[in-house]
Structure formats: C-alpha cells, structure tokens
Symmetry: D4
Subunit: 172 residues, 8 copies
C-alpha cells in the first residue's frame, strides 16, 4: 500500500504485528480521505521506552492525532495518552480468548484526567478511528471537512442503492 | 455555575435531566480549561426531530465538538454522529439495572463509517470528555495546548504530593 | 423468494445487507403465515434521513408493524420507534466481536416512553419477529388468528413426531 | 389505584408479589392511556396449573395482549406464550444477585416458534410494556392511536421544557 | 445404541433433536453405570401439554430422577420441576449466539421452592447428569454405590496413567 | 434454632461463618420438611485436611446428601464431591465484588466425572438446596415424598391467595 | 500504622489515594508476617515518568517484589512490570461503575513476555498480595517460610474453632 | 522436548492431558530461560489424593514454585495452594463453552489467606507463568536475573525490528 511522502498528521501505532490485519483498515481509510500518516509497532509492555519516546516526540514531529490499536490488557493507548496532550484514539482488538471485552475495558475505562477516545472492537473501530482522526483535523481544515461530508453522502447513497437491489430480489 | 458569554465551541448534550449530575463534570472541566460551551437536553427517542435539528445545525452555529451523555440503550451519541461530521464524544451513563455495560456497548459499538469517541462510564468519562474536546480544539490552538500541558503537569505534581503525605502517615 | 403484490402490512427493515441471511427468516415465516410485507435496507447511522422518512411515512403507507434487524450498537429499531407509534419489533444480530450482547443490550434497553419489542439474538429471533407481527395483526383478524393456532398445533405435533423417531433409535 | 370496570383488554401477570413495585408502572401507564386491564399473580414454577389455565383462557376472556413481569430464571412469559397465540410482552425484573442479566436472558432468548416481546429490565420496561400493549391495540383502534401520538408529542415537549430550564441554570 | 428393556429409573428429556449430540452423553454414561433410562423430546414452549403430561406422570411410571437438556431461554427443566417432586437435573446447552450463558442462567436461577440441580454447560454437564442421577439412586442402592466408587477409582487411575505417559514424553 | 437429635441425613457445610446468613435458609427449610441435618464450617483452602476428612467420612457417618455453600472462587463443593460419591449440592454465594458470577461459574462448571448439583446464587439457592436434598431422600422415602407434594400444593395455594389480595387492592 | 525502619523488601504502589482502604490490607498483612515494605502513590496515566522512575530504580533500592493496586483501566501493574524484572503482583480494585471486571481484565490479560501475578478483586486480593510476596521471599528465607507455615496452621485452627461455635448454636 | 536431568525447581501441573497444548508453552519458556522443571497431570476432582500428595511433598522434593494450568471450574491451583506455602501460579485455560471466563474467575477469586498468582487466559498466560516463576527464582539468583533482563532487552529489540519491517512495507 504505497503512500505519498507528505508530512504525517496521524500516527498509527499498534502493539504487535499481529494487529496489522485490523489496523490496515485505519491506514486504508486515511488514504481514501487523503490524510497523511505514519505507522509504527511499539508495545506498552515489551518496549516501554520506545513507546514513551514515541509519545513524547509525537507533537514535535508534527503529528496531530494518534491512533492506537491493541488487544488483551490493551494498555498501549492509555500509556501513550499519559505522555502527550495530542488526542489519542484507541481501537480495541479481539485477540485473546476473552474475545475483545478485555481490550475494550482496558482501553475505555481511563481515569479522570487522561482520555482515550475509544472506537468499536475490531475492523469497524479501525475504520472509524481514521474517520474520527479526520474529523478532528477537519475542525481547522475546511477542505477535509468537505471531503468528510462527501463521504457521508456517499454512504447514504450506497445504503439506498443496496436497498433498491434487495427489493428487486424480493420482487417488491 | 455561571459562564462567560463566549460563542460556544463545545456542545454538551444529554438524553435526560437525570444525567445532569454526571454531565456537570464535563461543564466544570471545560470551564476550568477556559473552553466555551452550551448545554442542552434532547433525547434520541423522545425528541428525535429536536435531536436531528440540533445535530444538523451544530456546525453552522459554530460548535466544533459535541459531547453526548446517555444511559441504557444509549443511542443519542450515535444518532447525533449520524447527522454531522463534527467529532462526537460519547459518555456512557450507568442508569439502568444492567449497570453501565448496556450504555457502554450502545455507545462504542458503532458501525464502520460513523464514529463515536467513547469515554469511560460515568464521572471519569464526563471529565475526560471535556479534556478530549479541549485536545481536539488544541490541535489548532496553541494557547489551549499549553493549558492542557500545564494541567498534565499539575496532575503529576498532585500525585507526588499525595504520595508524600501517604508516606508520612506510614512513617516511611 | 417471490411474493404476492398485496399491500404490505409488515415492514422488514435491516441496517445493512450483511443482515440479510438472518432477516430472510422473517420474510420466509411471514410468507408461510400469509402475511404481506415489504423489505428495506436503511441505516440509523449511515442514512438517518432515509430512516426517519421511512418511519414517519410507515403508518401512512398502510404498514401495521415494523420488524427491524440490526447488529453492533443496534440503534435502528429504537430510532424508528422514536418516529412512529406503530409497534416496532427488534431483532438483535450478532455481527461484532462482542457476539450479540452488544446488539441485544442496544435494542432492548430502551428508555421509558419508547418501546422496542425485542426478540432473541439471531435466526430464532428473526423467525419469532414474524410470528409476533402476525400475533399483533391477529388481534383484529380472526382468520390469521386461526392460522397461528394451527401453526402452534403443528409445532407440537412435530415435537411428538421427533420424539417417536428418537425412541426408535434407542429401541425404547 | 381504582380502575373503571371495563372489560379488560390487557392482562398483567407477575410471578410474585415482590414484583409489584415494578409492575405497578404498567398498570399506571395503561390507566393513563385509558386501556382496561386486569392483574394477576401466578408463578411458572409454584403454580403451573393456574398459569396454564390463565394462559389458555386468556383469549376467551377477551384479553388481547398479556404483559408478564418476572425475575431470576424468568420463565413465566415464555410459559404463557407457549399456551396462547395472543401477543405476550415480557418485563425482566432484576431480583437476584445476578442483577437482571439472568431475567433478561431467560425472557428474551426464546426458541423459534414462540416469541416473547421483551422490554428493558425494570421500571422502564414496565412502562414500555404498557405503551407497547397500547400500540398493539391501536393497530385496530384509531382513537387509541391518536392518544399514543399525543403522548409522543407530550414527551417531546417535556424534553424541550427541561432543556430550557437547564439552560437557565447555566445562564446560557 | 441398544439398551436392555429394564424399567426406566431415569428419564432423559431434551427440548429439541438438535440437543441430541450433547444428551447422548447422558445416555452413554447411564448405560456404562448400568442404570436404566428412557428418552424423550418435548419442548417447554412448542409442546407444553406434552411436557406437563410427561412431568406429572413421571413418578407414576416409575421414574426416580429426570435429566433435562435445553438451550437458549432454557425453561424445560424448570417447567418439569414445577410439575413433579422428583429430583430434576438440568443440563444447559450452548445453542444460541450468546454461547451458553443464557442457558445456564435460565436453568440455574430458579426461585425458592422449585429446585433444578444444574450441571456444567454442554458435554461435561451431560456426563455429570448421568453420574449425579446414579448418585441419587445409590443413596438407596448399595450395589450402584459400589459401582460409583469403582468408577471414581478408575478415574484416579486414568489420571495417574496419563501423567506417567506425559513424563515419558518429556523424559523426566 | 434447636433441632431434634436424630441422626443427620444431610450435611450442611459452608466455607466461612460469613456464609451463615445464607446457609441458615437451608437449615430452616430442612427443619420445616422434617429432615435431620448437621452443620459444619470448613474451607477448601484454609482447612483442606479437615475438608477431605469431612468428605471421606460423610457416608460412613450416615449422611446421604451434602449441601455446600461457598463464595468467590467457590471450590468447596467441588473439592468435597471429589472425595465422596454422595450427591453434593452447591449453593453459590455472592460475597465478592464480582457479585456472584464468580461463585456460580466456580461451582457449576465441574469437569466430566465429578458432578456438583448447582442451585441459584444466594438465598433462593439455599432454600432450594434443602428441598432438593429432601427430593433425593424421598426417592426411597414415601412419607417424605408426600410431605414434598404437600409443600408444593401449599406453594400453589399461597400464590392464588396473594393474587386474590392483589386484585382486591386494584378493585378488579 | 507505625513500621520498623528496616530496608523495604516489598514496594506497595497504588494509582490513587482512593485505593488506600484496600491497599492498607497489604500493608497490615506484611507487618503481621514481619516483612518490611514501603508505600507509594503513582499513576500510570497522571504521573508516567514518576512511575517509570519508580519501576526502574526498584531493584537498585533493594526491593524484591512490587505489589500494585489499581482500578478501572488498571494499567499500573503492567506498566511497572514493563520496566523491571522483579515479580509484580497486581490487585484489581473495584472503583468504576463496571464493578471490578474492568480492573481484573486490565490487570490479568497481559501479553506473553510481561507477567503480572493477579490476585482477587478487592480486599481478599490485597491480603493475598502480601502473603504471596512473602511466599516469594520465603523461597530463599527459611524463617519466613516457617512463619508462613505457622500462619497456614492458624488459619486451619480458626476454621475448626468457628465450626465448633456454630455447632453449639445449632445444638448439634 | 528433551530436558537436562537437573533437580526440578519448578513443578508444572495440569488437570488433564487436553491442557498440554497450552502448558507446553510454560515448559518451552522455562527451558529457554534455563530453569529446570518437572511436569505432572493430576486433577483436583478426579485424583484428589494424588493432588494433595503432590502439593504436600512439593517443597520437600526441592520445588520452589508450582505452575498450574486448568480449565472450567479450575480448582486445581487453589487446591494445591491450600496444601503448600510455595508460590502457586495459575494459568486459566479456555476449555468450556463459557470461553475462559469460568476458568479465570475460578482461579483468581481466591479467599484471603490462600493466594494464587493468576496469569492471562491461555497461551500468553502459560508463557508468562514460566517468566514469572523465573522472576521468583531470580530474587535470589543473580545469573537468572541477568538472563531475564537480557530476555527483556531482546523483546524490545524484536519490537523495533518488526516496526522497521512494517514501515518498509508501507514505504514510510
């Protein structure tokens, strides 16, 4: 998936390469919306220094939003949010036998003072993390805002289109 | 709780006046961070038109972020996110016998295409919704960004202070 | 699945075409009971206007009952119930990594004032939505009421038949 | 709570007198909507014959809808639905240490063939059972249908009124 | 699976023929312990009369214990326990998208007065229902009691045997 | 609560004296049914030898059934069932912050080979443990069997009585 | 609670002073076992640097074991375990509306490579964290090992004593 | 998997040979860290005497730590912890239809006085049990402590390496 070498506005981080099939959805949707990003693997538990360095330097490197995907006791988003005032978006990934409830609770139940904006578990959440990152950037970027409005209209149109096809199948 | 008559940047919405004891925390933290807001009650289910009107007109009225608190089958944040491309932050409120899991799942499990940035259930989430809203605004507002950094330092200082007091009690 | 062009009494709605394998069961059972229906895809989040239009015009178009299938943060049934006083029946669909608990809670935990009659998660619920819709119509339709009673007797007979076969296998 | 001696259209049933504080809400809302009802205690487990008699004779006595409240392993609604083709509405009651999840699952997860229209756990569900019963009756009763529409408008008005008051408190 | 034509002491009942792969385990273990049984399909919801007849006549037909397997809103064991004072053993079966929690809660959370002795969800529970039925019968049957003690010793021996084999694989 | 010095047929065991308010219900119901019992505190974890001694000697001392109440990681019933072929009935007690789900799962999810007959969480379960113990004994005791049938009829009568009173309150 | 000024072997850490009522149990039990400790408040999210400093310097300061109490998205134990190879014991605290499941999942579901030894939620877990820390130290400290064995015997004796008292109350 | 015949310091125990695919991970990681172990199958429920013998003799045979894997109503770790003051590490295994929550709750929710150090459900937990056992031994073994530190550095390096590869794929 090649990407233009624009300065990244969104940082995508994941705790393990096994999270890639999910977090690829974030990358794909950011590309579709024309938002530049970089991508990184770093673990809250296996590479804590690297993670802290990433988070502390994020604003300085020009990132505006960080999207974090992690599973199990998903601490990564919270640990990054602890080290930056950039908005951090968390994507819980269902990677343990507990089926995603552990990742969701670990990501969302942050204490007062350090928010993580949590998305749905899995692919839907990874897609939405990209859209939400774009919505944040669009608060000061009219052209991105228009692209988001356009994407919204297309979604509505796609629903209507699918409905029409369904009705034909049922001969209604 | 009086508030300066600045043009509101953040809209606080709740589904019922019984949500006020929680959502007051959002208002209080926004004031502390110097972010202007307005506040509204509207229900996804009992006043759907009013809710759609609110969401559709939000950007035009100058709102940049919407914070939504709701309990039970908490549809309000999702329903507002359906009608605007502004970032919508959801605060699940534990108001039914199911104890907040219902509100959390109803708020966070949005389908691909329409994100709701979900915070922790209850007061911690309401406080964090304010901070997250400020973090969004701070992506294009250096002075707010500095206030957030300052708030972060104060939190760290407060922890150290409490630890010192605890050690004294234990005579360590 | 062809259908006679009678004026539809039951509206089947689903949030996405991925819900069709479940919601087909509703269509099939309504046909078996001789109840006319139409079918539609519309999303609470991706096509909110279309959804509101559908709900507001439902009674005027002659619909008597609406059956709604949706997964994840399943807001669709609640959102439709907000816009009509027709009885709305919700079928939670297990489509996210959380396995159906999210859809069930999002569908059933409606606030006082706006009921959604919730069925079991998945296929059993989709079948029952059809039967329940017929039971509603049968409150003022004696012939349909007799067909339902007939269906009930056939279910009892089928159980007895299966039991007899089982006993033969065990040579009892 | 006195009631006019009209022939009952809705039967309210509960498994135990400890369910009365919840199920009273159904009675109150039916009265408010002008729908006649009778009320009964019968247990799926402690008085099974009485329960079967109740269910089998319900249609003959003129009942059009049955509302059932029960807690724990809440079998009562299902057991009644097994014996009648009248629409049965279930209200799960949170009466065990498991906090209502047990009642909800026991009420809603009915097998294909025998639906129970499940409402929210507790008081919200009891209120909504009344409204849903009225919505069923209104499918063939225009004046009741108008009362329901009126009730819907009043709910919307009440929300707007509360919002206005809230804004005054915040001096917005 | 042929069976001697002794008068049945244990009745095995299941709600649907889809429960057979689980409930076969009960039959197999009863045979292994030399306990006579009969087997029946009857549904709490689809064949309520047949179910009540079964339960009321059970003691008269010489049954001493009833084992009941059911899934989803698993009412069958409770409904049978309502109609007899014979000991009723419930086996929750994981047959719905909710994965067995619904069957477990529906089987075990019986109100004071009408017990159902609940076993583990699925096959382990079906095996144990047979052993528990035998333990009940063994309270007045010394030879069966000795067979159970023998079975217990064999289980312990089998564990020791497997451990020895494992140690060999690891060359310990 | 004095008790006749008959030879105990049922052993009541609990893991801690904090379980007594629940397990007293078992004692009370056994007395009401005229079944002799003894009572003991022993912990699976804090007094394992005492627990094993209790279980191994139970049959020899004339006990026919053992009722076990325990909370949290409720191992006591399983540990006793491991050491005897007497029927063991488990009562899960809600004593931890997890609210009873932990006790229920720890009691019921026994592996194939060693059943624990699990009752509802808390007081309802403690009452039912007594009734179920009596049902076991009644498989070879006609007079106890008649007392159980009598108790069942009284429960049904009590329900009818309460219903009559309720109807009077509502003037139906 | 005064304490001898021995060099601390166990570090007690908690995320907030609101966790003190629980974590005091760890301190009390360590004192009872004669194990020296120090105590600290530091937050994974509000004071991340302080937390990392604490963890990195722990071994150098002579600590042998770290006990960590935290609630909600309880990341503190995992974050400390990421920075040290000392054994880290986690005590989940039930401090959010989700009732402790969130803290338990966040503490226990650590990825392969970085263990946190998780105790029960709440006070039982805090007591056990102290005992487990002592068990770790006792692997190379015979006198502490004897104290633990002594404590185990006392627990067994206390159970027997309570049982005797209970029997007297029941006149058995 | 051959192993040097050093005197075992860690005992690996599992309740059934079906747990081997998980518990092999503990053996493999202990080998990688150069820690000697032995391995055993014994069941809390099917071979209670063997289990008690194992636990009581463990310290005498030179074991310093015991790692226990079990599923369902996972009593094995608690039962072993009841009979020894050696540190006991529990690995919950997801082997029942309830998907691991039952094993986790049964392992972790131990009463005050008898700790079980609980790891994550499944393979991650089995790996971590080995590392945690080594961390315990390393509190009095400098060379093992250095190997653990080395392993930690390698994990961090592996994360960085994977991240580099990922960036290349995305051409960043």
């Amino acid at each position: 998936m090649p990407k233009l070498k624009k300065k990244a506005l969104v940082g995508i981080v994941m705790g393990s390469d096994s999270d890639l099939p999910i977090m690829t959805e974030t990358a794909r949707m950011l590309q579709q919306l024309g938002v530049s990003f970089d991508i990184e693997i770093t673990s809250a538990h296996r590479s804590p220094e690297r993670t802290a360095d990433y988070a502390r330097s994020a604003a300085g490197r020009g990132l505006k939003v960080i999207v974090v995907g992690a599973g199990g006791a998903a601490h990564l988003a919270g640990v990054i949010a602890a080290e930056t005032t950039l908005p951090v978006i968390g994507v819980p990934i269902a990677s343990s036998p507990l089926g995603g409830t552990d990742s969701l609770f670990s990501t969302v139940q942050m204490p007062g003072g350090v928010p993580v904006a949590t998305m749905a578990v899995g692919k839907a959440g990874a897609v939405n993390a990209a859209i939400f990152a774009a919505q944040i950037l669009a608060t000061s970027n009219g052209s991105l805002s228009r692209r988001l409005a356009q994407h919204k209209r297309e979604m509505a149109r796609a629903v209507a289109e699918k409905s029409k096809r369904l009705k034909r199948e049922f001969r209604l």
